[in-house]
C-alpha cells in the first residue's frame, strides 16, 4: 500500500498543515472514548464516595427516596434476558447461516438473507411497539401478567438473530471450496461434513457473532423497556416482570438528582464495562485467521 507519509515534502506548506490538522482531528476522534469514560466516572463519583461500591450489591432494595440503591435485581434481569436470548439465537443463527450458505437454492438463499437484513434494520422502538401490542397480550393469555422476562427474551432473540446469522454466514462463505471437495472425496456425508469439518473450521466466526450478539443484547434499552414490565425484582421464573439496568437508567434519569443520578451513572459504567469486554473479545477473534488453507 502506497503511503502518503513519505511523500510529505517540506516544500509544500500545505502538506505540513494538512498532516497536522489531520492528526488533530484523528486525535479528537480517538479520544472520544476517553471523554465518555471520564464524564461517566465524573458523574458517578459522588455515588462511589458517598454510597460505596458494596452498597450497590448489599442494600435492601432499590428505593432511592429512602437512600437504598440495590442494583442486583436489575443486574440479574439484564443477565437472564441476555442469556435466554443468546441460548435461542446462537443455534438458530447458525442454522440460518447454514441454510443461506448450503441448503437453500440460490434464489431462496438471497431472499432469506434480505429478510434477515431487513430484520437487522428495524429500530428497537418498533420491536418494542410490536412486542407491547402483540406479544405481551399473547403471553398474558398463557400466563398473566404478560410483560415478563419471556417477552424480553423473545424480543432480544429477534434483535440479535441477524447479527449472529450474518457474521456466521460471512465466515462460512470464506471456507475454501477445496475443503468441501476434500471432505467429499473422503466420503463424508452432508451432515457429517457440516458437523465435523465446516462448523469447527468456522469456529472463530461463530464466536465473533455470539460475542457481538451478547454485546448488543446487554445494551438494548427501548424494546426491553416496553415489554418487560419494569418491576424491580430478581426474576424467579420466566413469567416474572423484570427491570434491566438499561431500562432502569431510561426510566429514572429524567427526574433523578444527586446520589440517585450518580448511581444511574454507576450502572451505566457497569453496563459499559460488560459490553466492552464482549466487543473486545469479538474484535480479538476477528483478527485471527483460523482457517488459512495453506501457510
Amino acid at each position: 500500500m502506497i503511503l502518503s507519509t513519505n511523500n510529505i515534502s517540506s516544500h509544500f506548506h500545505s502538506d505540513q498543515f494538512l498532516l497536522w490538522s489531520l492528526r488533530f482531528l484523528a486525535l479528537m476522534a480517538g479520544s472520544l472514548l476517553l471523554l465518555v469514560v471520564v464524564f461517566l466516572v465524573h458523574e458517578a463519583w459522588p455515588a462511589f464516595q458517598q454510597i460505596g461500591l458494596t452498597s450497590f450489591f448489599t442494600d435492601a432494595d432499590w428505593a432511592p427516596t429512602e437512600k437504598l440503591y440495590l442494583l442486583t435485581p436489575m443486574l440479574w434481569g439484564t443477565l437472564w434476558a441476555t442469556l435466554g436470548a443468546i441460548m435461542l439465537a446462537a443455534p438458530i443463527g447458525i442454522l440460518s447461516a447454514l441454510f443461506i450458505q448450503y441448503c437453500a437454492p440460490p434464489f431462496l438463499a438471497r431472499g432469506y438473507r434480505r429478510l434477515i437484513e431487513l430484520l437487522s434494520g428495524i429500530p428497537s422502538v418498533v420491536f418494542g411497539l410490536w412486542g407491547l401490542v402483540v406479544l405481551v397480550p399473547l403471553i398474558a393469555r398463557w400466563q398473566p401478567p404478560g410483560p415478563s422476562l419471556l417477552a424480553g427474551i423473545l424480543i432480544l432473540f429477534l434483535m440479535i438473530l441477524p447479527t449472529i446469522t450474518l457474521v456466521v454466514q460471512a465466515s462460512l462463505a470464506q471456507i475454501p471450496v477445496s475443503f468441501i471437495h476434500n471432505a467429499t472425496a473422503l466420503g463424508l456425508s452432508r451432515w457429517s461434513m457440516i458437523r465435523r469439518v465446516i462448523l469447527p473450521t468456522a469456529k472463530a466466526g461463530i464466536f465473533t457473532g455470539i460475542f457481538l450478539g451478547v454485546a448488543r443484547a446487554l445494551g438494548e434499552t427501548m424494546a426491553i423497556l416496553m415489554v418487560c414490565g419494569n418491576v424491580v425484582q430478581t426474576p424467579s421464573h420466566l413469567f416474572d416482570p423484570i427491570r434491566t439496568l438499561t431500562a432502569n437508567i431510561a426510566l429514572e434519569m429524567a427526574y433523578a438528582l444527586g446520589n440517585h443520578r450518580s448511581t444511574l451513572f454507576v450502572s451505566g459504567l457497569l453496563l459499559m464495562g460488560m459490553v466492552v469486554v464482549f466487543v473486545m473479545m469479538a474484535e480479538g477473534l476477528r483478527h485471527r485467521e483460523i482457517y488459512a488453507a495453506t501457510k
Binding site: M1, S9, A26, A29, L95, R190, A215, M253
Partner: protein, 284 residues
C-alpha cells in the same frame, strides 16, 4: 455445493434447518405485516405534514419530522469533518503497525459497541449539563454525532483504501503535493464511499431512541431554534405506545414512516455501492 442428503442423519439435519428458517421467516413477516396492517390505514399526506393534537392521538407528525431532520443535520455536520479527517489520516498516513493509528482504530472499534443508553448518559452529562445546552436539538445532534462517528470513519477509510496505488504513484510522479493528491484526486474518487457511509450513519442515527431521550427532549411542537427541545420520530413512537392511552394507531403509523424511511435509505446506500463498484472496475 455439498453432497446430497442421503442418510437419516442428513435428512433430520435438513428438516431442522428448514423448519427453523421457516419459523423465523414467519416471525419476521408477522411483525412486518402487523406493522403495515395497523399503520397503513392511518397514513396520509396530512398525517405527514400536520401537527400532533391531543397528545399525539390525533393529528400528524409534521413538527416531529422537522425536528428529526434538524437533529440528523446537526449530527452529520459535526460528524463529517472529524470523520473525514480521521479516515484520511488512517488510510493515507498510517500503516498497519503504526501505534497511534492502531490506538485510534481500537478506540473507535470499542466506541462502536458502546450501548446507546450510555451515550445518552454521556450526552446528558456533557452537552446538556456541562456545556449548558439543556434539552435541545443541538445536544441530541451532538450526541448522535459521537455515536455515528465510528461507522462513518470505517466506511470512509475503506473507500480510500480501495483506491488503487496507481493513482498515488502517478500523482507523485507528476510532483503533486500530498494535499493536492488528497484533495483533487483521492477525495473525488472516494466520494461514493463517503456517501454510502453517511447514508448508513444517518440510518443508524434515525433509529436511535435511548440516546435522545434525555438529550433532545420530548416537546412535540415545531422547534424554533436549535436550542429548542425537539422530539424525534423514534421518541414519538415510544411516547405514544407507553405513555399515551389510545396512542397505538398513530404509533403504528409513525413506525411505518420510520421503517419506510430506513428502507429507502438502505436501498439508496446499496444502489450507490453497486454503481461505485462497477465504476471502479478497470477495463480488461
Amino acid at each position: 455445493m455439498l453432497p446430497q442428503s442421503k442418510s437419516v442423519q442428513d435428512h433430520c439435519g435438513a428438516a431442522i434447518i428448514w423448519s427453523s428458517t421457516g419459523l423465523i421467516s414467519f416471525g419476521v413477516l408477522w411483525l412486518l405485516g402487523d406493522l403495515l396492517w395497523h399503520g397503513w390505514s392511518q397514513l396520509s399526506w396530512s398525517f405527514l405534514f400536520s401537527s400532533p393534537e391531543n397528545a399525539g392521538r390525533e393529528g400528524g407528525i409534521g413538527p416531529i419530522l422537522i425536528s428529526t431532520s434538524l437533529i440528523l443535520g446537526v449530527c452529520m455536520i459535526v460528524a463529517w469533518p472529524m470523520g473525514l479527517g480521521t479516515a484520511i489520516f488512517l488510510a493515507e498516513f498510517t500503516q498497519d503497525d503504526h501505534r497511534f493509528g492502531r490506538l485510534i482504530r481500537g478506540s473507535l472499534d470499542v466506541l462502536a459497541g458502546v450501548p446507546s443508553i450510555v451515550f445518552g448518559l454521556f450526552g446528558n452529562a456533557l452537552f446538556c449539563q456541562a456545556l449548558g445546552l439543556g434539552f435541545s436539538i443541538l445536544s441530541g445532534g451532538l450526541t448522535l454525532a459521537c455515536m455515528v462517528l465510528p461507522i462513518l470513519i470505517r466506511t470512509t477509510e475503506e473507500s480510500f483504501r480501495a483506491i488503487t496505488s496507481d493513482q498515488r504513484l502517478s500523482a507523485a510522479a507528476l510532483g503533486f503535493s500530498t494535499s493536492t493528491t488528497v484533495g483533487s484526486i483521492l477525495l473525488p474518487a472516494a466520494i461514493p464511499g463517503l456517501l454510502v457511509g453517511s447514508i448508513l450513519g444517518i440510518g443508524r442515527a434515525m433509529a436511535e431512541t435511548a440516546a435522545l431521550i434525555f438529550t433532545s427532549g420530548y416537546v412535540d411542537r415545531m422547534p424554533e431554534s436549535l436550542l429548542d427541545s425537539g422530539r424525534a420520530l423514534s421518541i414519538h413512537i415510544y411516547d405514544l405506545a407507553m405513555n399515551v392511552a389510545g396512542g397505538n394507531p398513530n404509533a403504528y403509523a409513525t413506525a411505518v414512516v420510520l421503517v419506510g424511511l430506513l428502507i429507502i435509505i438502505n436501498l439508496a446506500a446499496s444502489w450507490i455501492a453497486e454503481k461505485w463498484t462497477t465504476l471502479n472496475q478497470l477495463p480488461t
